[in-house]
């Protein structure tokens, strides 16, 4: 039976069709019509306190669940506040759909109240975007937006809807077939290339599997582990791929890159073959590109052909979905091995073991000294048995969390890798907890980052989203301070956040959360235990940490991965 709906009703119906269970947003004039039918929909709306929060919540939700995260904002300032999370999701290939209200069609271009050229502004930070011009097209546009966000290389898609279109009426129709003649992501790798890759891997003496975030996005962790074992190849996991293979696995080398561990960095550097899957030779991984992994041939598997050859020439390019290609690699390797064992690669594995022995990740917790963040992270890992989703901000605490948390499963590490967005952790943790309510979601945040989005604590408290947030209070913008300490002769400029401002415990309480504090190493474990025991409210735990601590190893920006700086003495 033909059913007449308003554009707003059709929008909500289309979201239901896309199996959306929750949206994160802030209402306003232009999007107002959409907020009425949402009351009658099973879709949950989480009211963020800032649209940036709504955007990162959608991203955290998507990271944790693998589903598309949805955020909603009004026109003008609502939409512009979404730009940071959109760019963040774009850089990290996170499937997000943003719905924004726009001024009425007639008013577009007239500098109307709360008008912004959202379509133009969001174009370079989305995979695709729409300005809806006819109410009839709403069902198809929404279906297309979800299809684009989730398939191929995932990413954010924005749909801008003028207010008159939300108010207009249409005869509801289910979305039709997706018709995008120019959009056909490759899934399967070319069999000839797969065969060439397998032969190259089999011959290689010093191979490294360079696993990127694409492994997580493609749900390819199982296949990755299987292939690594089958081919007997060690695996490095980039910042976006932590958890892609268990850190406890004998073939796992941990994280490479600017603050990676010595073995992961050096294994890539000395490798004769980088089997790159869902990674993009980011400058934080390669350091100086000219001197990066000089002897390595490259197999590059990516769903986005533009990543192949962008930074480093590939000897064997394979366009395809990470999981599908890994399964093809496994099958092809099976027939090549034909029951035989893979090469032992004894000298290579002894070399790796020697490096691990010689240069492990270390820190020292003086029982009478200030708290070291690594100690908090290790103790939290022990108390939770690593069974938690960890969300980080951007800075020193992020690097320590990635280094010292032993990740055992995919989708348990959520952070802003490509854009490095301070303020990501609190809202992303909220989104993750909404998506995975039965998991412990623990944000490890810096005091600087926390102050960028801490208003979302009230969202967590009121909406019943019991996240836990560790504020690593080193009283400074620590990562910037570290660079000033190392490269600007300890001339500290605009990095001091000053002890006790604000009072994080009181701030937490004022926001309806539990506030806890640990000031000495001895207080760390009991305070964490208390935090872990509270599951009916959000908890904020402040740790008063050592302001002088620095993250090592380190490759100074633009430096060569040949020169891993293990401590300040290496820079003297």
């Amino acid at each position: 039976m033909a059913e007449t709906l308003t554009g707003a009703q059709a929008l909500i119906r289309a979201l239901e069709h896309a199996e959306v269970d929750v949206v994160f947003g802030v209402p306003g004039g232009a999007i107002l019509p959409a907020y009425d039918p949402i009351l009658d929909s099973p879709i949950r709306h989480v009211l963020a306190r800032h649209e940036q929060g709504a955007g990162h919540m959608a991203s955290g939700y998507a990271h944790a669940t693998g589903k598309v995260g949805v955020c909603v904002a009004t026109s003008g300032p609502g939409a512009t506040n979404l730009i940071t999370p959109l760019q963040d999701a774009y850089m990290d290939s996170v499937p997000v759909v943003a719905i924004t209200g726009q001024v009425a069609t007639r008013a577009i271009g007239m500098d109307a109240f709360q008008e912004a050229h959202t379509w133009g502004i969001s174009m370079p930070c989305t995979k695709h975007n729409y300005l809806v011009t006819r109410v009839d097209e709403l069902p198809d546009v929404i279906a297309e937006a979800f299809h684009l966000a989730a398939t191929g290389r995932p990413g954010p898609v924005l749909v801008d809807i003028p207010k008159d279109i939300l108010n207009a009426t249409m005869t509801w129709h289910r979305p039709g077939e997706i018709d995008l003649p120019g959009y056909k992501p490759s899934v399967k790798g070319h069999p000839k290339q797969v065969k060439a890759a397998v032969e190259m891997i089999h011959r290689s003496q010093r191979p490294v599997l360079y696993a990127g975030g694409g492994i997580i996005k493609a749900e390819a962790s199982e296949a990755l582990r299987h292939f690594a074992e089958q081919a007997n190849v060690p695996v490095v996991t980039t910042l976006m791929a932590r958890g892609a293979i268990p850190d406890s696995h004998p073939l796992a080398l941990g994280m490479p890159g600017m603050h990676g561990n010595y073995t992961a960095i050096t294994a890539m550097q000395r490798s004769d073959l980088l089997i790159t899957i869902g990674a993009r030779f980011d400058d934080r991984v390669t350091g100086d590109v000219a001197t990066f992994a000089p002897d390595a041939k490259v197999i590059h598997v990516d769903v986005d052909p533009a990543e192949i050859g962008k930074v480093r020439e590939a000897n064997v390019p394979i366009v395809g979905d990470a999981r599908t290609v890994l399964e093809q690699l496994i099958e092809t390797m099976s027939s090549l091995l034909d029951g035989a064992e893979p090469p032992e690669r004894e000298p290579w594995f002894s070399q790796l073991a020697a490096w691990q022995e010689e240069h492990p990740l270390t820190y020292h917790q003086d029982p009478d000294g200030p708290i070291q963040q690594q100690y908090v992270i290790e103790q939290l890992h022990r108390l939770t048995r690593g069974d938690a989703i960890v969300v980080a901000g951007v800075g020193q605490h992020q690097m320590w969390a990635s280094q010292f948390w032993g990740f055992e499963r995919p989708r348990t590490w959520i952070n802003s890798g490509g854009l490095g967005t301070m303020g990501y952790a609190v809202p992303a943790a909220i989104g993750a907890k909404v998506g995975m309510p039965d998991e412990t979601v623990f944000a490890i945040d810096g005091d600087g980052c926390f102050q960028m989005t801490s208003q979302e604590l009230i969202t967590a408290a009121i909406d019943g989203i019991p996240v836990k947030i560790a504020v690593m209070n080193n009283t400074s913008l620590g990562m910037v301070r570290q660079w000033q300490k190392l490269f600007y002769g300890e001339r500290y400029s605009a990095v001091d956040l000053t002890d006790h401002t604000p009072d994080y415990v009181k701030l937490a309480e004022a926001m309806g959360c539990v506030g806890l504090r640990a000031e000495t190493p001895a207080e760390v474990v009991p305070t964490l235990e208390k935090a872990l025991a509270i599951n009916d409210r959000p908890v904020v735990v402040e740790f008063k940490c050592d302001p002088e601590a620095m993250v090592f190893p380190m490759i100074p920006a633009g430096g060569s991965n040949d020169h891993v700086v293990l401590g300040p003495e290496d820079l003297a």
């Binding site: 133009g120 174009m123 695709h128 011009t133 191929g152 290389r153 052909p305 533009a306």
Partner: protein, 168 residues
């Protein structure tokens, strides 16, 4: 070095903005860009002349745009290229005859005559247009408008392997 790329796109609002925004963001240099309808009303075709040694990234980034249907880098030896221009030159009475003779050699059409200028329309191979401009410089060019190049592969098998790459 200049390369000519033929880009078939869905005929959707804003598609030109998407292409030019992508060129700006990736730091690719556009020498000229023309766009118009095709034999199929759902599609538009652009001819983009770009500067630079590296075409592979440009082609791949073009494909990455959702509305891009096909990208072909055209081989100059197997391509028909055309451009049209309007050029206004100084034409004092004493040199007018000589000027018109020169223009005749290029089949340039007089489209406007002013008190001390003549305006020509010239259409043809881009290189012929440049030759004509060289010649006109001696008289003094006061105004120039070029359409930008349009190009079409000759009816041979010319698609390069790049045109078959598909994007996510």
């Amino acid at each position: 070095m200049k390369h000519v790329i033929s880009v078939t796109v869905e005929n959707k609002p804003g598609v030109l903005a998407r292409i030019s925004s992508m060129f700006a963001r990736r730091g690719f240099n556009i020498h000229s860009l023309t766009v118009g309808p095709t034999e199929d009303p759902r599609l538009s075709r652009m001819t983009v002349v770009v500067d630079g040694p590296e075409m592979e990234q440009i082609v791949k980034q073009l494909y990455k745009l959702v509305h891009t249907v096909k990208v072909t880098e055209l081989d100059p030896t197997e391509t028909v290229e055309r451009e049209i221009m309007l050029v206004r030159v100084n034409a004092e009475a004493s040199r007018r005859g000589e000027l018109l003779d020169a223009a005749n050699l290029f089949s340039a059409k007089v489209v406007d005559v002013g008190a001390s200028t003549v305006t020509f329309e010239v259409a043809g191979e881009p290189s012929a247009l440049n030759d004509f401009l060289e010649l006109m410089r001696t008289y003094g060019i006061t105004s120039l408008v070029k359409s930008g190049r349009i190009a079409m592969a000759k009816d041979l098998k010319t698609t390069t392997k790049r045109s078959r790459l598909r994007t996510a």
